[in-house]
Amino acid sequence: MTLTQSDIDVEINDAQNAYDKAVAGGAPVQHHPPRDYAPYRSSVLRHPKQPLVAVNSGDPETVELSGPVFGPTDITEIDNDLTVQHQGEPLGERITVSGRLLDREGRPVRGQLIELWQANASGRYAHLRDQHPAPLDPNFTGVGRTLTDDQGRYFFRTIKPGAYPWRNHTNAWRPAHIHFSMFGTAFTQRLVTQMYFPNDPLFPYDPILRSVTDESARNRLVAQYNHDLSQPEFSLGYEWDIVLDGPSATWIEEGR
């Protein structure tokens, strides 16, 4: 049986209504998607059915409360500019994406690695398994990395990615997005996520975005257009702050 968008819409709306009702009844807000979210078909056989086991994170010897460190040797100076990594200029709309990396206390996370990857302006990844018949761009790979500065700030220059089709159901399209990977000061703060662009008409249809059933949490995945970040005659600016979840040893030292 072919699965249509309207089949998926029914499932998305059921999950949304169930969540909204639970929260209205006093259930806690869920900031992250559930691992079992049937409208995203790939999650069906890939989520644990047993509850997670809590580790006592009051013990400073818990290995996960520390984490890997990165330094200037782990990046090159142009790694955060995806428009200059080839001989020619990539096609598409030049953008800058900038913001701060913060912990749950709102403190900057300094000197940590941010990696990103994305499709090109036509919605095609430079990945062999992406066979979407949109053109590859010989001047765009779509991979970048940077370290956050002393204020926890990061900055990338890139191309606005295109939407692309996928095989979750018939006529499934992912809204334009950039994949992000972040490290904090603890392994427990690890985050991989996706950043979206404001006012994308595909938002309501996308089971991956809609897996975040809390509306305000979902909105935190959408960057804001920031005219002050736009560069005259050159690029449009987007601002996106990232907040890492999870405990770290510094919280314990400060008596949390």
Partner: protein, 191 residues
């Protein structure tokens, strides 16, 4: 960014790593945490399996552990880059970064080459699992020995074994990760 009533800021939601991270996240020598040729090198390896017991060929695993002397400070240089060519230089061959990153192969298999962790208590390597279809990463631990341990001792008998890697020949340890179903691996949260 939104603040809640306790002054905490609200976290950015997690999303799946998707199917196309393969040209972005893996890097040469991601699996070679031990300096090459180190006589104490151990191999941690196994399969990542789904709810039907099928191997997952598009998972990516990250590993974090104490150095052999117990230090949790780590070191930069896991993905050392070449400022001339823009490619990867590989690790410097002396520093122990404590961090590894390995994508599963077409058989769903991974292998990590590292040094024995010297953390307090039973030695273990922390594992973080990402995959297409996994909306939020999962943490687990590969213990390299069995014995008294607050986490292991809190688990029912049938589940404890899922966290204990099985020693094999030539300093290898087998550690399979089952995301769902029979023999489902114990996954952890850190509240």
């Amino acid at each position: 960014m939104t603040e809640n009533t306790t002054g905490q800021v609200l976290p950015t939601p997690s999303h799946t790593v998707g199917p196309f991270y393969g040209y972005a996240l893996p890097f040469p020598e991601g699996e070679q945490v031990a300096p090459k040729g180190h006589p104490d090198q151990i191999t941690l390896h196994g399969y990542v399996l789904d709810g039907e017991g099928k191997p997952i060929p598009d998972a990516i695993l990250e590993f974090w552990q104490a150095a052999p002397d117990g230090s949790l400070k780590g070191a930069p240089g896991s993905l050392r880059r070449n400022p001339v060519t823009g490619g990867y230089l590989g690790r410097n061959g002396t520093d122990f970064t404590g961090f590894g990153r390995v994508a599963t192969d077409a058989d769903g298999h991974y292998a990590l080459y590292t040094l024995p962790p010297g953390n307090a208590g039973l030695p273990y390597i922390s594992v973080c699992v990402f995959a297409r279809g996994l909306l939020h990463h999962l943490y687990t631990r590969a213990y390299l020995a069995d014995g008294a341990d607050p986490l292991l001792d809190s688990l029912p008998d049938g589940r404890r074994a899922t966290l204990v890697a099985q020693p094999g020949e030539r300093r290898t340890y087998r550690f399979d990760i089952r995301l769902q179903g029979e023999g489902e691996t114990v996954f952890l949260e850190f509240p």
